[in-house]
Symmetry: C2
Subunit: 437 residues, 2 copies
């Protein structure tokens, strides 16, 4: 596939946006992409920000033709734990019809399908690209950029591929995303690390205190989040919407996770818990001695990363305030608590039956030979809610990845059949859109 | 002070017993010490073990003279967190009448006082040294060595300096030590790390589960350890013993720890909690993303180091079994629990009024100008219970360190006045012991 070679080049750039030592690599990825768009007749602008640049590009053929805005991101998650990768994360490797690399599915591979689809496209459609390097850290600079460049970004459709199909060989249209509220919690006890023999019995232990806090954040029996007000704004799922949902193959999901049960909030099906219920998960924890063998220390500090996935109509800022207030309330006496708000993103629901969604459904059925399923996704793309609010254009979420792509984990991969069919679907969509006007 | 220069040399050897990369350094420390003892007329033997060598040395002057066995250890704790040291841990540095280095107080400085005290000593006393390199990892090879060399180690008194004085300028005789049970707990959930958006709501989270487990190990309100049977064998403190205890300066202790309260088990004084009550403390915890910024991962694994300080008549093996059984009972479903027993040590009580304790009290009063206080210690020296059982000789615990020596923490130090007075006390003790026979 001629689209593959440039993608391997794109994937070999370690554009880890959260890691300051990779700042130049993130920039390199933006410049690389700009070159590929120029080769395809685009005018490009690199907008500097306080951190990573935003790439804007446009190919305007006809003011009367419909305009599509494509959003994607060229940054990737950190690759650690490195030792669990079967091939190095930034040496893209082909195995069994898949390309393995950090960013293969999230989002370089999917973004690349959109660039490759434009090669020699005859359909009269104006295309704009908005590509950022800060998606994995919550798009702090993109959100104000969108508000400031409302006119430039104006479009009839917003096209986004930064998600997954519901299952292999199952064309999927996504109409909902969860939001995110991501915090760091730091707890301090004594002034310094202490010997557990000399001081055990009178010293505060921040690790123990984090345990008490975690147990008060989520109920062990019911799986319910215990933060007051957390569920207040959660919109219930209508019967009509529920009928739209495909059946979830729970046995397959258990097999994929290697688990015998799917633990979660009592009273909801696994699919509802993934798509329409908010969650709370600690994403990292640290404190004291983590090396080989034993060290009898009571650490002065411990900390954790804590995130909540949100659903309409929860608001990330409001949830962050609820969590922070509750943490201050439940923090045991004798500890100093610090809460950092790392990033957030609003949840999204779009109209599954908007005109461009109907055209995309047609394109999917033609290419895959079967109609798409309609799905929400559990993940977050912070800019989507913003694009929806600011541009007011219908949004089409076309996930090209698969649920087992190992996003944010070792051995991330992207199936080449999805790249190939994705390009074909997009070319067909542009054709339908040009004809529909 | 002429005793200082060799000590600085001793302290510059990074003999971290728990870290395999320092195996040769641990050996180097043993060889260095053997040379210093040879210089002082000792016959030495280096006994190889499966890990770090045991140094035995003897200077036998007269079969009719009393024999003293000195125990100490030449291994040290890991120095991390390195960034909190004001001078490098293995570049001993003098500041304000103290030497700063890892091992300065625990135990190289105190052990060195015993070697230096023998320089030109005229008292007719036989002296044996038993020095190990595995104290910080629970003395796994020393305990069988003591049982196997009962005859060789036979002595009238066992002298040990591996602890602290009750307060500065307060000569102290220690008659009790806590024991230790140290475990590592590992928890596995899904087969691999998971994206918290794609799987949050159906995935086990081992960090959250560790939180639930920690909350069930120790009660937040009462500070009581919740492990069934844990307190069953705890010997209550007699009124007679309690009258022996010096008053604890709680304000000073709070100031030293930088805390406003001394949290611990409800219903006991801070001193009793430090000396005569068992504790439970997580000493380290890890799992998920610990780097800068955010990563939205649900980790496949998390773990912690967990230790219990024990008091007479608790038994480390029995407690380990109690903890392990309880952990299996409270581990939430859907997780794989692994418990590793890292090390242990039995608690000790000795007779505060044995004949050699009375002689040492006399020596202390002569050198310091005030009688000693009688104290227990919260820490553990695994071999002491073993020496007591196997040799049957009275044990004198003469702590030369101070409570603020930063044992097992950054900026460990040893006060030179304690080195100097310690040497003088030991020389006087040998004189009294030779005369007493």
């Amino acid at each position: 596939m001629s689209a593959l070679e440039p993608l391997l080049e794109f994937l070999s750039i370690p554009s880890v946006s959260t890691d300051p030592t990779h700042k130049e690599d993130v920039r390199k990825a933006a410049l690389w992409l700009a070159e590929r768009l120029k080769e395809r007749g685009f005018y490009t602008e690199l907008h500097e920000t306080s951190l990573h640049p935003i790439l804007y590009a446009e190919r305007l053929l006809d003011p009367k033709a419909p305009t599509v805005l494509v959003y994607g991101h060229y940054d990737v998650q950190p690759p650690d734990p490195l030792e669990l990768w079967e091939s190095p994360p930034f040496s893209p490797t082909l195995r069994d019809g898949r390309v393995y690399a950090r960013g293969a599915s999230d989002d370089k591979g999917q973004l690349w399908a959109h660039v490759a689809a434009l090669e020699g496209l005859s359909a009269r459609v104006n295309v704009k690209f908005l590509v950022e390097g800060e998606e994995e850290i919550g798009s702090p600079n993109l959100l104000p950029f969108v508000r400031a460049h409302r006119e430039k970004l104006r479009a009839d459709v917003v096209l986004i591929s930064d998600g997954a199909m519901f299952a292999p060989h199952t064309p999927t249209l996504t109409y909902g995303l969860r939001g995110l509220c991501y915090l760091e919690v730091r707890l301090k006890g004594a002034r310094r690390d202490l010997h557990s023999g000399a001081f055990g019995g009178v010293a505060p232990n921040p690790i123990q205190a984090l345990g008490w806090i975690l147990a008060r954040l989520k109920d062990e029996e019911t799986g319910r989040v215990l933060i007051p007000g957390f569920y207040d704004r959660v919109r219930p799922v209508s019967e009509e919407e529920r009928r739209l949902w495909p059946p979830l193959d729970e046995a397959l999901l258990k097999g994929e996770l290697g688990v015998e049960a799917l633990p979660g909030e009592e009273g909801y099906t696994p699919l509802e818990r993934l798509w329409a219920r908010p969650t709370l998960d600690p994403n990292g924890i640290w404190g004291g001695y983590q090396g080989e063998g034993s060290k009898t220390v009571i650490p002065a500090e411990a900390g954790m990363k804590l995130s909540m996935r949100l659903v309409p109509d929860q608001d990330p800022e409001e949830v962050a305030s609820q969590v922070e207030a509750y943490l201050r309330e439940i923090c045991p006496p004798g500890y100093t608590l610090e809460v950092l708000r790392l990033h957030g993103g609003k949840p999204v629901l779009t109209d599954p039956h908007s005109p461009p969604m109907r055209l995309m459904a047609e394109a999917l059925e033609e290419v895959w030979g079967r109609p798409p399923v309609y799905a929400r996704e559990g993940g977050t793309i912070p800019v989507v809610a913003e694009l929806q609010e600011v541009l007011g254009a219908p949004i089409v979420l076309l996930g090209l990845g698969l649920p087992d792509d190992n996003l944010h984990a070792p051995n991330e991969k992207f199936d080449l059949v999805n790249l190939e069919k994705g390009i074909a679907v997009l070319r067909r969509f542009y054709g339908l859109l040009a004809g529909a006007r």
